[in-house]
Symmetry: C2
Subunit: 429 residues, 2 copies
């Protein structure tokens, strides 16, 4: 039985790990072995164990090793006041020299991602994602949501057709989903009431910003019986606060120590403004010109984020009721003011994290909204049909898990937040 | 605030749901409203609420409705001894007549999957999957596994190249993964020690059996520091027993009531035989001819499954140490008998649920094994490179979540176990 290095107690022990350091002295060898849980020193007295000394004198750093021996307390050893006196040692895998180092450029590091990731700091990023993701799912399950696995292969390109990857599907064409939007709404027509989906989504965009990838991990929810976007916003803020709280509880200290980041659990409710209030802030407080009915530019977003964080001391805020013309065709318009919609965006730090809305569930109104956007309704026949046999009012949101992780841990780019980044120029390893 | 129908208490209430039944009598209307949590009767006295009676006299079954009113006890009402006397009623979505019914053929039902799924029995299938899937993840997290999201888009077709979907990727080609095998092994080289992955996987096979789909939901794990396949089998049986136990605890009664299925939580350990023992059983006990070193036919598998369940009274069993020639190139051969491998299959009821193994982590041996299978090593350069800078001994398994669900609930086909089935002839809805 292999013991985790972080859990070694004095006595007989078998450990496995990587050779992080090796000092080969005249009479002694001092080897530091690392696994994900910690590091320990192995001390070889050459005269007593010549066959083990022989093994370590011919190995390389970052090789993997299996060692049996006795763990003993030794106050002179800095690493946990403990050392292992080995009985046997076996090199299980021998490392060649590394082609990259921590100082290599990001794209070189991505070429050798399996080496780039080999540190407790990098592993921690994905340990955080594990807790974050699982907590998001658990919140949903605790609140009556059903998880569905929606297909990524579709017969017709959804949501208008731009920026979609085409797949050779036997003797015809298929496409990769840009979002599970249609299929989560389908679940509302099926009476599932509340669903969440965690699936890869795809964008055939030749973008090279720090926030774009061609494939990323989406987290979507949809819920029935909503009265407005406010019902969705309430679920979203609770879900995020819960998930961030779980990260803070389970890994907050380690994140602080290894990544130098303070995880801040957001207070509820998140600050909220309407888009009209955002226009006023931009014009009156920040002296930035914007017309009613316009979408924000990146610069306007950044200025607004800065203002909101300074004013509220909160890393999140909602902007609601965007102009209908800048939102997707499936967004419900406000009853009393149809040029504005029952929609929202959620900002986190200085970036838009997610979009949500109440959807248009009346098939006749929906069809008109699609036509008004100049989109062909023919490939959407099934989608419109979803709503013809009864479908309750509903709404939801979608967010990019990788982007959320990047923002939470202040990572410089999506490339650092994804296990394996995919971009227009990157399909390997 | 909308109250779930299953949680109505006497007093003022707002409910939303589907019109399941409507009896329009001379002086009264009796409407049964259904949501996912239950059903309730709404009683309209026409003389007292003519405007509500007018609404219900012009609506259709399966339309959705929002009702406010007062819930009162009434011993004459069969449905929970409770009825709602409405104050207001609003049809939120009007249903056209259904194009399918429960008696329709499966492919017709799939054409209108959003209607096919509209019953508490169908929703329950996915409620079971939700608990099953989350419990599998939770077991992993509780045992030190990190979740990773591996890409589905790859630059070169993995594992030999047959049956792979091709994607138009800007000015080049990409492919869809058949399994995250390479990427979970990469995590071992990165020092992640234990990972799990829940991702769609793809098979470009023109199969039409009840067990095949072109896209399905994979659940994979990989773990470092294993000594043989036995270490992997131990994790797998514990994981499955835990997950099935969670389903039994949380939904066992409902599954029994609505689907007529007894969920059996398997005892530990699962029965185990080697492939050589399986050959003996087939030849000596079942009088079925098979040669040493051969793979099982479907008929041989079925006979073996029947024998094992009858002999052991257990729905699961492992077969280990398959001939190396019938296993993938990345499987480690037995040290003392290289024509057999450190591999296993797990059978559930009468079907192979999963394959697992210890992997070959030595790059020189791995390269030889790839060549021995007649596979081109060139597209696998990155994969072989994973193991060149130190990689601990490791192993893992993969299973199809949809297949697991199908077997657990005795569903007649994968089409019933998937939210939206994808096959050679089906890409819609």
């Amino acid at each position: 039985m292999t013991t985790k290095i972080g859990e070694i107690k004095p006595g007989k022990v078998e450990i496995q790990g990587w050779i992080e350091n090796l000092r080969d002295k005249k009479n002694m060898q001092f080897i530091v072995i690392r696994d994900l849980s910690g590091k320990v020193q192995v001390t070889v007295i050459k005269a007593e164990k010549p066959e083990i000394a022989e093994i370590f004198s011919h190995t390389t750093l970052e090789s993997t090793v299996k060692i049996t021996g006795t763990a003993v307390a030794n106050d002179f050893v800095k690493l946990g006041g403990m050392e292992i006196i080995p009985e046997s040692a076996e090199i299980t895998s021998r490392a060649e020299a590394f082609p990259i180092g921590p100082e290599s450029a990001i794209d070189q590091r991505l070429d050798y991602r399996w080496l780039d990731l080999r540190s407790p700091e990098k592993a921690l990023i994905f340990q955080v994602e594990t807790i974050l993701n699982q907590a998001m799912r658990q919140y949903c399950i605790d609140h009556g949501f059903i998880e569905i696995h929606t297909p990524t292969l579709i017969g017709a390109s959804s949501e208008g057709g731009a920026d979609v990857f085409e797949v050779k599907y036997f003797d015809r064409k298929a496409y990769l989903i840009q979002s599970p939007q249609f299929y989560k709404q389908m679940a509302m027509a099926a009476g599932f009431e509340r669903v969440f989906i965690n699936t890869p989504v795809f964008r055939a965009e030749k973008s090279h910003t720090k926030q774009h990838a061609t494939e990323f991990s989406g987290f979507d929810i949809e819920m029935s019986y909503v009265n407005s976007q406010e019902d969705v916003m309430k679920v979203q803020e609770e879900l995020l606060a819960y998930a961030i709280g779980e990260v803070k509880n389970k890994l907050g200290d380690k994140v602080k120590e290894l990544l130098g980041v303070d995880i801040v659990v957001p207070t509820l409710p998140f600050p909220r403004i309407t888009v009209k209030e955002a226009y006023s802030i931009l014009r009156d407080k920040l002296k930035i010109s914007i017309k009613d009915g316009e979408d924000f530019s990146r610069e306007q977003e950044t200025a607004l984020c800065k203002y909101m964080e300074e004013t509220n001391g909160h890393q999140f805020f909602f902007v609601s009721e965007y102009p209908s013309k800048v939102r997707a065709f499936y967004t419900m318009a406000k009853e009393d003011e149809p040029e504005y919609s029952k929609s929202y965006d959620l900002y986190f730090k200085d970036v838009e994290l997610t979009s949500g809305a109440q959807r248009e569930h009346r098939p006749d109104v929906l069809k008109k909204q699609i036509e008004a956007k100049g989109i062909d309704t023919a490939p959407m026949a099934d989608y419109i049909n979803f709503f013809k046999n009864g479908c309750p009012p509903h709404g939801g949101f979608g967010l990019g898990l990788d982007r959320f992780l990047m923002l939470l841990l202040n990572l410089p780019s999506l490339k650092e937040a994804m296990y394996l980044f995919r971009g227009p120029d990157r399909l390997t390893p």
